[in-house]
């Protein structure tokens, strides 16, 4: 449709104004006086200066060594601590619940953006999404990357290669009784994207071209199932070592990282033998056995990064008390595994599997104390950091587990993960020293993403899932009827 000339001119004018109002890229932002903890593992240094130009870190060093251009905008960070923006190595963004899937079909990307904004609001400048519908995830990622909405950077794997969609036997097939088949099939296709359960019936050579195609589908890394999801009936080994090798090779050929989903020691061993880059939640080994020392040794020797979802002892205790069962046991075993891996020096990647929660979900779910795993986005990672501290991880390693290790494992380390010149300027200014206590990660003073200050109070800008719905009266029948039955106690 053609606009009248007046409107067209106005539109051009507005666009011009917007360009002028945008921060001038050439200008320098200087953070001065802070203690710099750069995420490389090098010792922190006091009275540091960090210069940002064009969204990237231009220089970082002691104030004596760095020349601050006169025209710089300065942030006085004396007494404060600068760390790289946090990364979440595995976040779910939204819980694949039946009600959510139906209600928001066609709008998943909005919830993903909303969730990414909540993550950013709480210091996570990049998040890795290990499982979800590819198209809306790509849409959300691109909306954020092009700057049309604020939010944490999203990196996605799409489907877990070899597993089905949410309505398949891999996950929640019990839902099928309650929805139209068409919807279930549509949903499964949105997740599976051609790399679903059928793949495990193919030979390595048949799998190769399928993976090759899939790796071209705008995914940022590959995740395949070494084992099933682990929902009781699905604890099988999904792929032979040869098949796993084929998947890994095709991923590497496409230049992206390959991660394995494992829920048991045997599936973990197979993935190691296949030469995988990382494990998505390698601290989980089922409910019966811990990961044996020889497997842990192999992880160290082969430099395989292990995704973990740490939980505090308080949380695990609460789980066992409030909802005893397999899940609590799984979490208890995982905690032992993490302690052992920390001791052995395994490189780990902190993930939370966190979800955005609706007000109703927050009010209704029986959440055990300090929930990190599958916890609410914005809170979960703070508890996960505490858990790492309690499990014996050194403070500097905790920081790297939530920053540079994650960036390296997903091959994002050219751009992300440390405070080094040339990297994207994603960083946090903290009011307290995170190396003194993991609790101090909560003490966020300023968040900078892409070299720009994040307006934390404004987030989330997109509000789809976190809005309150009108609640029905929940007066009990008893009180309603009491006017008819006066003697009702």
């Amino acid at each position: 449709m053609m606009l009248p000339i007046g409107l067209r001119i106005a539109a051009i004018l507005i666009a011009a104004l917007l360009v002028i109002a945008a921060p001038v890229q050439a200008q320098t932002l200087a953070i001065t006086g802070a203690t710099m903890i750069d995420g490389t593992g090098s010792a922190p240094f006091h009275d540091g200066v960090l210069l940002i130009q064009g969204g990237r870190i231009a220089a970082v060093g002691r104030s004596a060594e760095v020349v601050i251009p006169d025209s710089s905008t300065r942030i006085d960070a004396r007494g404060k601590y600068v760390v790289p923006g946090l990364l979440d190595a595995a976040i779910m963004l939204f819980a694949p619940e039946l009600e959510t899937l139906i209600r928001y079909e066609g709008r998943y990307h909005e919830i993903f953006v909303e969730a990414a904004q909540l993550a950013l609001k709480n210091g996570q400048t990049s998040v890795v999404v290990p499982w979800g519908p590819r198209a809306p995830l790509v849409q959300a990622r691109d909306m954020i990357n092009t700057g049309s909405v604020p939010g944490s950077r999203i990196y996605l794997a799409g489907n877990i290669i070899g597993l089905g969609g949410p309505f398949s036997a891999s996950f929640f097939s019990q839902w099928n009784a309650h929805v139209n088949r068409a919807f279930a099939e549509r949903s499964n296709e949105a997740w599976e994207q051609g790399v679903g359960r059928n793949l495990s019936t193919l030979t390595p050579e048949e799998i190769r071209p399928i993976i090759k195609d899939y790796a071209q589908k705008q995914v940022d890394y590959l995740q395949y199932a070494s084992s099933g999801y682990g929902n009781g009936t699905e604890n099988f080994i999904a792929f032979s070592v040869a098949a796993q090798k084929a998947i890994i090779e095709e991923g590497h050929r496409a230049g992206i990282a390959v991660q394995a989903h494992t829920m048991s020691v045997p599936s973990l061993d197979l993935a190691i033998d296949a030469g995988v880059d990382s494990l998505s939640h390698g601290d989980i080994s089922g409910i019966a056995s811990i990961i044996p020392p020889q497997t842990i040794r192999k992880l160290v020797e082969r430099k395989i990064a292990v995704g973990i979802s740490p939980a505090t002892q308080r949380h695990v205790d609460a789980l066992e008390k409030e909802m005893p069962g397999e899940y609590a046991q799984l979490m208890r075993v995982a905690k032992v595994n993490r302690r052992n891996m920390i001791k052995a020096g395994v490189t780990m990647l902190m993930g939370t599997q966190a979800f955005v929660r609706s007000p109703a979900q927050l009010a209704e779910s029986a959440v055990a104390a300090e929930t990190s795993v599958h916890g609410p986005i914005g809170e979960a990672h703070f508890y996960a950091l505490l858990a790492l501290e309690e499990e014996g991880m050194a403070p500097m390693e905790i920081l790297r587990t939530a920053t540079s290790h994650v960036a390296r494992a997903y091959k994002l380390d050219r751009e992300l993960g440390t405070l080094e010149p040339g990297k994207l300027a994603d960083l946090l200014i903290l009011d307290a020293n995170p190396l003194a206590s993991a609790r101090h990660y909560r003490r966020i003073h300023t968040i900078i993403k892409n070299g720009q200050l994040v307006d934390r109070d404004a987030l989330p800008v997109v509000r789809v899932f976190t809005v309150n719905r009108v609640q029905a009266r929940s007066v009990s029948a008893r009180s309603r009827l009491s006017k008819y039955i006066p003697i009702l106690p």
Binding site: I102, H178, N180, F183, E364, A472, R473, A477, L481
Partner: protein, 480 residues
């Protein structure tokens, strides 16, 4: 926007205004065979005059003077009957979990969609039972206010008694049923379930309060509940449970049933009862109900005894029926001969035959609903599905069933028109007589020759206006 486009829009708007039916004047249906629904013999070469939404004259061509300005509708060779009234239409739309979530806040649109599909098939009046309060009422009010086309809707709201699931629908949502955990609610947020229940149960309390609690209350306490309900809710008639929804258990004592019926009548509302057994039917007849919602059901064991059918006649009740053809039942029996349902259906067919013979006034029902194309595809592939079938064609199969059960053609028409109007005390509907609201269907074939001919809808007139059948449903949410 360019000038051309703007001019086009203005032109289009003008055209739309112009093509709307002219309201002020007279509409004359000329030359058709008029079957007025009173039971009188058909009138050949008749004229029916409509003005201001009402029938103003009716008679042979030579007896009726057609004003010159009248809009004439040529009905030669066609058959003019009252608009059909679907007396038992419980399931207006598929209450599956997915639709409940997906269309939350828009349920009234589904009612509109259903009522438009009904209208398209010649059903000008329908009765919504259960399925919530707010949504059917909103649809009813929109249709009555002329904001949307559609069949007239009359709303019962909740059905008193039994446990909440009776009023809650789908049954699984009721948390109170013998405290059995709800199989679907475990996948849902509690607040969503509460919102649904709140809507379904508005006014008189939550599912629990219209459920078992009511059964423990004295007649005077139940009377107070019902009185408040009719005072505060804009329902068109009352319904209560004689039996449990699926089982034979009797819900209310005779004294409580009397109290409910009395309070309904005091408020000027008809009262009907859900029954599934002969004993419950008998109790309801004693309580003085006006209508048995599906009074052809006596359970899977025995057909009604003669005494019960005699009592129906004596008490002058109208009996809603859910007729099924033999062809359907035979096909169904082949696929599921062991089911509890098939016996109930077979016995209901015997009951209808006996009631027809005895002259009990029946009301056509079918409990049809609109469905998504997907849901339609998933329906069992059985011929002539009526009860629980597809809205818009289920009633034809129901009429065919009554025909094969021995109902005379003229009685068949009354069962779908004037009997329903009488049963619900809707004096302005049901027949083609001067003074009545002009709800008229023109058929291409003679309905007195074959019940199948009710399918041959040529035109539908509601409230004196010709309905644009091709335009319906206007904004389909689930049927496309």
């Amino acid at each position: 926007m360019s000038k051309e486009v703007r001019a086009g829009i203005i032109l289009l708007a003008a055209l739309l205004v112009l093509v709307r039916p002219v309201q002020a004047d007279t509409l004359a249906l000329v030359g058709g065979t008029i079957i007025d629904g009173t039971g009188r013999a058909p009138l050949e070469n008749g004229v029916l005059l409509i003005r201001d939404g009402r029938i103003i004259d009716i008679g042979r061509s030579r007896d009726v003077k057609i004003p010159e300005s009248a809009q004439k509708l040529d009905a030669r060779g066609r058959y003019v009957i009252p608009g059909l009234m679907d007396a038992v239409n419980l399931t207006w739309f598929p209450m599956d979990l997915e639709s409940l979530i997906r269309y939350e806040g828009r349920y009234h649109e589904l009612f509109l969609e259903a009522s438009q599909i009904a209208l398209k098939s010649g059903i000008t009046t329908a009765f919504a039972m259960r399925r919530g309060h707010a949504a059917p009422m909103k649809a009813r009010d929109m249709i009555n206010a002329g904001e949307a086309p559609g069949a007239r809707i009359f709303v019962a709201g909740i059905a008193f008694g039994v446990y909440g699931r009776f009023a809650v629908v789908p049954p699984q949502f009721a948390a109170g049923r013998y405290a059995t955990p709800d199989p679907e609610a475990k996948y849902l947020s509690r607040s969503f379930v509460q919102r649904i229940n709140g809507d379904w149960e508005q006014g008189s309390g939550g599912p629990e309060s219209m459920g078992p609690e009511l059964l423990w209350m004295t007649p005077e306490q139940v009377r107070a509940v019902v009185r408040d309900y009719v005072r505060t809710q804009r329902v068109d008639y009352l319904k209560y449970a004689g039996n449990d929804v699926y089982e034979a258990g009797i819900a209310f004592s005779p004294r409580v049933q009397k109290a409910i019926v009395e309070e309904g009548h005091r408020a000027g509302l008809t009262v009907q009862v859900h029954t599934m057994s002969e004993e419950a039917t008998d109790l309801a007849l004693d309580a003085g109900v006006d209508i048995l919602t599906h009074g052809d059901r006596s359970g899977p064991m025995n057909p009604f005894h003669e005494a019960t059918i005699r009592k129906m006649l004596e008490r002058k009740v109208f009996v809603g029926v859910l007729p099924q053809t033999q062809r359907y039942l035979d096909a169904r029996e082949k696929t599921d001969s062991q089911s509890y349902d098939i016996n109930r259906f077979k016995i209901a067919k015997i009951n209808r035959g006996r009631m027809i013979k005895a002259g009990v006034p029946l009301l056509l029902g079918n409990e049809a609903s609109i469905r998504t194309p997907q849901q339609l595809a998933e329906l069992p592939d059985l011929p002539e599905l009526s009860f629980g079938g597809k809205l818009g064609e289920a009633h034809i199969h129901a009429l065919m069933a009554l025909e094969e059960e021995g109902m005379k053609p003229m009685e068949l028409l009354k069962t779908a028109t004037s009997n329903v109007a009488k049963a619900y005390k809707l004096a302005e509907l049901g027949t083609l007589e001067p003074g009545k609201l002009a709800d008229v269907v023109i058929l291409d074939a003679d309905p007195l020759k074959s019940a199948r001919n009710y399918k041959q809808v040529h035109a539908v007139i509601r409230d004196g206006r010709i309905v644009d059948l091709n335009a319906l449903p206007l904004n389909p949410l689930i049927t496309q």
